[in-house]
């Protein structure tokens, strides 16, 4: 009973699929944007890979400077607290001073009115806008995303962020009219639909690095991307280091279990 019924059910599905094959066009709708879209360029960082990765603290410090002086005008970083930047090599005193440079929302203790106060190490990077409506109003209705997780939240990760920051250019001459950037949009072949609301954020010498590194657009893009790799996963290096210890411990464990397995089975053919 099962087999004839199963046969009929199978035939039903197969017929529906065969008809589906014959009624689905074999050619795709032309997607012109595809032809202009570019794959991200590779960015090599000290924190890459599994072979002894590390944080390049000087670079992360430079990256944080770029974030603070450029990106933070529009983008929040709400998952990162000032205390976290101890990872970048700052001392407790430096962190306190750094936090003090920010005004964070607060409440006036006498009147209960909204107020601001100096930042403390336990505070998080404040958002540049009071809320989403304010953010959109200031940005031609586009919402600048929070950057805390951005290198994990985009296909292509750090390569994509680096490519996007350095990828602004004039639209190619053969770009169809419907793909040309509209008012307030900027052409960038690394962005999914080629035109994004963010204006090219970096210009040469936009920041002055304390360590004397030349602030080219490429250098600033690399530095801020490295910083955003850290903000997305502050435990990345620790994770790899702990991974080594666990892996080698388990390797010894596995070799021992293999030897005891061979030993126990030594007298049994199988």
């Amino acid at each position: 009973m099962v087999r004839p019924l199963g046969f009929l059910v199978g035939l039903g599905f197969i017929t529906a699929l065969v008809l589906a094959i014959f009624t689905t066009p074999l050619s795709n709708e032309a997607n012109v944007a595809h032809e202009f879209h570019k794959h991200p360029r590779h960015l090599k960082l000290a924190s890459d890979g599994v072979v002894l990765p590390h944080w390049d603290k000087a670079q992360l410090q430079r990256g944080m400077q770029v974030y603070k002086e450029v990106c933070s005008a529009c983008h929040s970083l709400h998952l990162v607290a000032f205390r976290d930047i101890a990872d970048l090599g700052y001392s407790e005193g430096q962190i306190k001073t750094f936090a003090k440079g920010f005004q964070v929302p607060s409440i006036n203790p006498d009147t209960g009115e909204p107020a601001t106060r100096d930042g403390l190490p336990s505070d998080y990077f404040p958002s540049p806008y009071a809320n989403e409506v304010a953010a959109r109003a200031a940005n031609n209705n586009a919402l600048p995303p929070d950057l805390s997780l951005i290198t994990k939240a985009r296909e292509g990760g750090k390569d994509y962020i680096y490519s996007l920051l350095t990828g602004f250019q004039n639209p190619p001459a053969n770009l169809p009219a419907e793909l040309k950037p509209g008012t307030g949009l900027h052409y960038n072949p690394y962005f999914a639909n080629l035109n994004l609301a963010m204006a090219p954020p970096l210009a040469p010498n936009q920041v002055t690095y304390a360590d004397g590194t030349k602030a080219t657009v490429d250098q600033m893009a690399k530095d801020v991307t490295a910083f955003l790799v850290w903000t997305a996963e502050p435990k990345l290096i620790k994770r790899i280091q702990v991974g080594y210890a666990v892996f080698f411990f388990l390797l010894i464990f596995t070799v021992l279990t293999y030897l005891s397995y061979r030993n126990i089975w030594a007298d049994k053919k199988h």
Binding site: V2, R3, G6, F7, V9, G10, L11, F13, I14, T15, A16, L17, V18, L19, A20, I21, T23, T24, P25, L26, S27, N28, V50, L79, D84, P145, S148, L149, K152, A153, R154, E155, G157, A192, A232, E233, P234, K235, K238, R239, I240, V242, G243, Y244, V246, F247, L250, L251, F253, T254, T257, Y258, S260, Y261, I264, W265, K268, K269, H270
Partner: protein
């Protein structure tokens, strides 16, 4: 429920004797996974995967309980509570990544376990009940994994929940009310997140219960083996302990090495970047894909693009997707061949490997956008999937001429060693 030569449990220590009279749990363990359970001597490494699946479930339960201590199932804070675990909880990043990749490891192991069963005919009499309970476990795992993926409340969590609960709205008339009832609203929201968290915490323990039944049902006929010949006498078997506890110990070691490599060195490879964006009901991701372990079924769902008879394409897809798993319940009766192991089934063996390739192809297609050639490949893949189980298998099992088989497990083992010795001396 065991072979007559099974070693009886004879406690010697007074405490163990006392325990045996009051609550004979040591006896149960001794007879289930100890020296009192005789197992075929010729099991290969594919028989490790049952124990590995059990290990994976335990890892999921332990890491999951710890995560639940720090996670907050509320739509406004769920996403940030996961990031709090990743950043501020001691070793929270490890627990979270272990749980996330543990789900993938669980599915890898269970898929290998299922394909082992398909190749060696483990679903056949007298082990049909073991197979049926296994399919129940698989369904429960899928439900649990789906709901777990919703909990971080990222973009894929939200839109995955939207798509999967949307299957129910394909059912005529009652579909939409059923969907709203399941979600507790018109779109996934706080009510959905809360009930999914509750069920995600509950179902693993239901799985644990069904696993106990699965093992119980297995212990009645005893384990199958690569020859598919049933155990005949004592020399066909070895006691589970120490022989298979040692072998499973090694298997667990290899499993943990792969698990650890994935968790520590590449924890986001099997995930999707969009799930690091907080859920947003106003912004649909460019293409919504489920976790990798659902991709073959997702490809089957999307393969149906034609309104055939009075049923529309979407409903066909949903029915076919459920049918693709439900048909496994009928497998013991679809395959009428008395030969279990594909080692002796030359024709079925070919179709088995085509099925393996087909499921991998469907998985690949499931990941792709709805464009050619992926659409036609998933349609062809889905045709083979249904044809394999519902048309080819019943016919093959009727017309196939099996290869000559050894008389017993021991004979097969000794024959294998004789050829090993011969080939060794030939090369020497």
């Amino acid at each position: 429920m065991s072979f007559p030569w099974a070693k009886p449990y004879e406690p010697t220590h007074p405490l163990m004797k006392w325990m045996d009279e009051k609550l004979p749990i040591p006896r149960l363990v001794y007879n289930a996974t100890g020296p009192g359970y005789p197992v075929p001597r010729n099991l290969n490494y594919f028989w490790n995967f049952g124990v590995l699946a059990g290990a994976a479930l335990m890892i999921q339960i332990i890491t999951g309980i710890v995560l639940a201590m720090h996670y907050a199932a509320n739509a406004s804070v769920a996403f940030n509570s996961v990031e709090h675990i990743m950043r501020d909880v001691n070793a929270g990043w490890f627990i979270r990544y272990a749980h996330m990749n543990g789900a993938s490891m669980f599915f890898i192991v269970v898929y290998l376990h299922i394909f082992r069963g398909l190749y060696y005919g483990s679903y056949k009499a007298p082990r049909e009940m073991v197979w049926l309970l296994g399919v129940v476990i698989f369904l429960l795992m899928m439900a649990t994994a789906f709901m777990g993926y919703v909990l971080p409340w990222g973009q894929m969590s939200f839109w995955g929940a939207q798509v999967i609960t949307g299957f129910f709205s394909a059912i005529p008339i009652v579909g939409e009310p059923v969907r709203e009832w399941l979600l507790g609203g018109f779109v996934p929201d706080n009510a959905t997140l809360n009930r999914f968290f509750s069920l995600h915490y509950l179902l693993p323990f239901v799985i644990l219960g069904v696993i106990i039944l699965h093992i119980w049902a297995l212990h009645i006929p005893g384990s199958s083996n690569p020859t598919g010949i049933e155990v005949k006498d004592e020399q066909d078997t070895v006691p589970f302990h120490p022989y298979y506890t040692a072998k499973d110990g090694f298997g667990v070691g290899v499993f943990l090495l792969i698990f650890v490599a994935l968790t520590f060195f590449s924890p986001n490879t099997l995930g999707h970047a969009d799930n690091y964006i907080p859920a947003n009901s106003l912004s649909t991701p460019a293409h919504i894909v489920p976790e990798w372990y659902f991709l073959p079924f997702y490809a089957i769902l999307k393969a149906f693009t034609f309104n055939f008879l009075w049923i529309d394409a979407k409903l066909w897809g949903v029915i076919a997707m459920f049918a693709s798993i439900a048909l496994l319940f009928f497998l013991p009766w679809l395959d009428s061949s008395p030969i279990k192991s594909s080692n002796y089934r030359p024709l079925y063996r070919i179709f088995f490997w085509i099925l393996v390739a087909d499921v991998l192809l469907l998985g690949w297609c499931g990941m792709q956008p709805a464009e050619q050639p992926w659409v036609i490949l998933s349609q062809l893949g889905a045709i083979y999937y249904f044809a394999h189980f519902l048309v080819i298998l019943p016919i093959v099992s009727r017309i196939e001429r099996p290869l000559p088989m050894p008389n017993s497990i021991t004979e097969a083992v000794l024959a294998k060693h004789a050829t090993d010795v011969k080939s060794a001396s030939a090369t020497a």
